[in-house]
């Protein structure tokens, strides 16, 4: 296979695996993720979906195998901020309002052009709750407040761990719409979910995990 640099996948995994106390968490994996692509990571509970995402985000060290970013070996310093991770823990301060949480995130990551905290929160469905402490929001609203980061912060690759959890139907549709807009704009995303999720823009790539 001869790949020109322009066609190099955004993220490529070769023989990627992870061990926890000498027990392999998942079998070696090979996959490619191109710009504009959406990959759904599927697997049973405990099959290592979260572990994979945390490893791709850079929180866990790469056990075995190789990760390549735009054709070159992935270096965390170079990709920091370009990869956005949303895990089970939402990373919101309960004493802060959604607006304050976003402001802190934006002052570390920067903002997408033409966005600000207020417009992003209105878009994500938290109008009227901008200044309410996160502590007092419902689980679904907290999730939305965390998802607002995706709209505000500039990043190419989204790694979303169970983004649909706690969301109502409108929220789920909203996440799908965000993912579609992101991939249309040349971004890429990896999403874990065991729910049945339908995307409007055709069938997403599926990455199956085996424990």
């Amino acid at each position: 296979m001869t790949a020109t640099p322009a066609a190099a996948p955004l993220l490529e995994a070769r023989g990627l695996s992870f061990r926890r106390q000498d027990e392999p968490v998942f079998a070696p994996m090979d996959f490619q993720l191109h710009a504009g692509e959406l990959a759904l990571v599927e697997g049973d509970n405990g099959s290592g979906k979260t572990t994979l995402l945390r490893m791709l985000a850079g929180l866990l060290h790469v056990g075995e195998g190789e990760l390549r970013w735009r054709g070159a070996p992935l270096q965390r310093d170079a990709t920091a901020g370009d990869i956005l991770f949303l895990g089970h823990q939402l990373g919101l301060k309960a004493d802060f309002s959604p607006r304050e949480n976003l402001r802190v995130a934006a002052s570390l990551h920067g903002c997408r052009d033409g966005t600000n905290a207020a417009s992003v929160l209105a878009r994500i469905g938290l109008r009227g709750y901008e200044d309410e402490p996160v502590r007092r929001l419902s689980a679904g609203q907290k999730k939305r407040a965390a998802l607002a980061r995706l709209l505000l912060l500039p990043a190419t690759l989204w790694l979303l761990d169970e983004p649909y959890a706690n969301l109502d139907r409108i929220g789920i549709a909203l996440v799908n719409e965000l993912l579609e807009r992101h991939t249309d704009a040349g971004g890429a995303a990896m999403v874990t979910s065991h729910g049945t999720v339908s995307f409007h823009g055709g069938e997403p790539r599926r990455i199956r995990m085996h424990g």
Partner: protein, 228 residues
């Protein structure tokens, strides 16, 4: 899109942690209350003799303030680990060591500074001569950030373990001792009219070293704690 500069990120981090501390003002008041109670109890236990109190005043205030600081040390990174904020800090495109340095600074401002403010009051209650109080304050201004920085490294090292409180106390004791010896040495020397600059200089040197190294060690330790 352009990445914010270091200054913006550091200022935001400092503001964030100070705002969070201010929303939980009760937690700030706790160490102060503790220090006041301990310093008040000493004359009752030892008897109100001027000469005795004067002799122990400097040491009592120092130890009381440092112990009061330990009460709040545990919480330095706990809430950030719990709610996932730390993961977001680690993944942000800013140097983690600097962000953690700002967190430590905010923690010092929120816990140690109120203690330093009431320290002259505690010292006066124990009849420490007024001329010695500036030296006591100087010693505290150097010893408390030193303890915050050393403590932060240990808190980061024990972050992944359960029941880290016990381990933390055990590990912190040997690191506390030099700070207490030099700070108390300076106060005692000033009280006897001897030159007190040397122990202060030692404290300052240790602080400079800790300011440079502790945030780096914290960053490394917390990365390891998350990588499990």
């Amino acid at each position: 899109m352009n990445r914010p500069g270091l200054g913006t990120a550091c200022a935001a981090m400092l503001r964030r942690d100070l705002a969070l501390a201010w929303r939980r003002r009760g937690d700030i008041a706790m160490p102060v209350l503790y220090a006041v109670i301990v310093a008040t109890l000493f004359p009752f236990a030892l008897g109100p003799e001027d000469t005795l109190l004067q002799r122990i005043a400097g040491g009592v205030v120092l130890v009381t303030v440092l112990l009061a600081m330990l009460l709040a040390l545990d919480a330095m990174f706990a809430s950030d680990i719990e709610d996932g904020s730390l993961e977001q800090l680690v993944l942000s495109p800013q140097p983690l060591a600097l962000l953690l340095g700002m967190k430590i600074l905010a923690h010092w401002l929120a816990t140690a500074l109120p203690l330093i403010v009431i320290a002259p009051l505690l010292a006066a209650m124990l009849h420490l001569p007024g001329t010695v109080i500036p030296v006591l304050l100087l010693a505290l201004l150097l010893a408390t950030p030193l303890l915050s920085l050393l403590g932060a490294v240990l808190v980061a090292l024990t972050a992944g373990t359960r029941r880290s409180g016990m381990l933390l106390a055990l590990m912190l004791l040997p690191l506390c001792v030099p700070a207490v010896i030099f700070a108390a040495g300076a106060v005692a020397a000033a009280q006897q009219g001897l030159p007190w600059l040397a122990p202060i200089a030692w404290l300052a040197a240790a602080l400079v070293l800790a300011v440079v190294l502790a945030p780096l060690a914290c960053a490394a330790a917390l990365r390891i704690a998350l990588d499990a």
